[in-house]
């Protein structure tokens, strides 16, 4: 067994000061909130990503003893994302977080780009307001950001244990009472477990909260981080100081439902694609070839030219949204973040870290309240679900539940980007000595050329209105 971090850890060897490791459950049950086995902590949070650290922070603030488990050597080591952290939800947890959070650039320019093989049409929005407090979104390296947020939980009193895998649940009398870890004798008992163990969440699956997993609900994200001089990035992206750009790209993954992204860090740019799993494997296309295709696009290539690959990364994303969401509460356990499929993949909005922080925060609060009230059964913890329903987390997810399907549909992925680009090209191509084409006639021709039926377009329009209207 390899060397584990920190002799001060409460798990396994070197935990002599901590009581009761792996002891047999005490006979004769006690109060509702007290698990049969002796609990070393009120709450064990599994995973020190944004969900886990927010949960640990919120619960520790309520005076609860919290153990925050992380399988990586540091928080963030296993985490990867597609570009922007929206910090508004942090205002409550860490007032004036922007003064201390390890940010690369503040996003002041936001683009949505629709591309075909050799066309592109971009909605380009910029506001200087997002470049000053309280800011809107930031790019960051997750190794920095996640470690920073975990540090806030530790400051609040949580115990962070890194390099430790939660290998399974301890369940007694049908309720979760802790986790087993990969440390010798590393059982950890708690009144409540909060599973923030990421997109693959083996804990949520073990608890039976995902009745089945459909690969169609998952996408693979692959990303290249490319080094470029800071001034060069400023020049190419038309920004200055610590301003940054985030570009979401539709039509960038020919034949495979997905999208592309490009965003700026201080002296690197990140470029990548997100593709749905069943079609990725059916297409027999290698993921890095899809990035290469995007990087060769005439609208992208000049932005990343000469950038030297600094790190290649990959991660799964639970993009199915509301339709794939597991049960969020069971006896003795809550699920938050990617583990609860709380990623909003709704085309113009692509958000995950903020939903992780939000759900984690509500989970931490609900667990603390349930423990204080002496009831950590499913009913006692149900406040978590209610809090999510009353907040942006499930309000947005429910409203946008049809959006992932719409965005990933064949028309949205192929025909519409082509249609939009053709239409704009036709309008802006000067046809002298012929007269200018009428917009309506051009649209009709475009529909016909792409084999689109008006009634399908109208149906998609209605679906879009129901999501975004």
């Amino acid at each position: 067994m390899a060397d584990h971090a920190g002799g001060e850890s409460p798990v396994g060897k070197g935990a002599a000061s901590q009581p009761t490791l792996g002891r047999t459950p005490r006979a004769g049950g006690s109060g509702e909130a007290r698990p049969p086995g002796p609990a070393q902590f009120d709450i064990v949070v599994v995973g020190a990503g944004p969900a886990g650290s927010a949960a640990a922070l919120a619960a520790a603030r309520e005076g609860r003893s919290v153990c925050l488990l992380e399988r990586g050597p540091y928080p963030g080591a296993k985490n990867m994302y597609g570009g922007v952290i929206y910090g508004r939800i942090l205002d409550d947890l860490v007032p004036a977080w922007w003064e201390e959070a390890p940010v690369q650039r503040w996003v002041t320019r936001r683009q949505t780009m629709v591309v075909t093989e050799e066309q592109s049409f971009t909605a380009d929005f910029r506001t200087q307001k997002w470049g000053r407090a309280p800011y809107n979104g930031a790019t960051a390296y997750r190794a920095d950001f996640d470690a920073w947020l975990a540090g806030k939980a530790v400051e609040a009193g949580a115990t962070l244990v890194t390099s430790t895998v939660a290998t399974g649940l301890i369940r007694e009398h049908g309720r979760v009472t802790g986790v087993t870890t990969d440390r010798p004798d590393g059982e950890l008992r708690a009144r409540t477990v909060i599973a923030c163990d990421g997109v693959n969440s083996f804990l949520a699956k073990e608890a039976g909260l995902y009745p089945h997993t459909d690969p169609g609900h998952y996408t693979l994200g692959v990303k290249e981080v490319l080094a470029l001089p800071r001034e060069e990035i400023d020049r190419r992206f038309n920004v200055g100081g610590d301003e940054g750009v985030d570009i979401e790209i539709l039509g960038a993954t020919p034949g495979i439902p997905g999208g592309g992204f490009l965003y700026t860090n201080t002296d690197t740019v990140a470029v990548g694609v997100i593709v749905r799993l069943p079609e990725l494997s059916a297409a027999k296309t290698r993921p890095e070839e899809l990035i290469a295709g995007l990087k060769r696009h005439p609208s992208i290539e000049p932005l990343i030219r000469g950038g030297e690959l600094k790190e290649y990364s990959a991660h799964l994303i639970p993009e199915g949204g509301y339709e794939m969401m597991p049960e969020l509460v069971t006896d003795g356990m809550l699920v938050a973040g990617d583990a609860a499929a709380l990623v909003l993949a709704a085309g113009i909005w692509l958000e995950g870290v903020n939903y992780a922080i939000g759900s984690g925060m509500y989970a931490g609060k609900a667990a603390a309240e349930a423990i204080a009230a002496g009831d950590t059964s499913r009913r006692g913890l149900a406040r978590y679900r209610t809090a999510l329903e009353e907040s942006f987390v499930l309000r947005n997810h429910r409203k946008l539940r049809r959006a992932p399907g719409l965005i990933m549909s064949e028309r949205m992925q192929g025909a519409y980007p082509q249609l939009v680009c053709d239409l704009v090209e036709e309008l802006f191509t000067v046809t002298d000595p012929e007269r200018k084409p009428g917009g309506l006639a051009a649209a009709r021709r475009g529909l016909k050329r792409r084999g689109l039926r008006l009634r399908d377009v109208l149906r998609d329009g209605w679906a879009a209105f129901r999501s975004y209207g």
Partner: protein, 102 residues
């Protein structure tokens, strides 16, 4: 996609690509592939989908698997349609992929 007349950036080789990623390789493999089960597989979805290119078909119809440079993403078991072919767990604590700029 076609270039725009400018010379496209030369793509780096796969080995070189993977050299940019930090791995603290565990002694014990965290993923075990049952080559016997793979022999009857018709899709071989893992071979192209794995972003780290860890699944290599062998001439005798099996699959050779390396766990060392795994992103721990989960794509392989998600796209695998042969029950029991891939046993997937996380590498032991502190080991496996260590991302720095992701």
């Amino acid at each position: 996609m076609k270039g725009s007349g400018m010379a496209p950036q030369p793509e780096i080789g796969f080995e070189e690509r993977m050299e940019t990623v930090d791995f603290d390789v565990a002694e014990k493999p965290h993923i075990v592939v049952d080559g016997e089960v793979c022999r009857s597989c018709t899709t071989r979805a893992c071979v192209t989908a794995c972003p780290a290119n860890l699944f290599v078909p062998t001439s005798d119809g099996g699959i050779l698997f390396n766990y060392e440079q795994c992103f721990e993403c989960g794509t392989c078991y998600m796209v695998c349609n042969n029950e029991g072919a891939i046993s997937w767990a996380y590498p032991e604590g502190g080991h496996g992929v260590v991302m720095r700029y992701a």
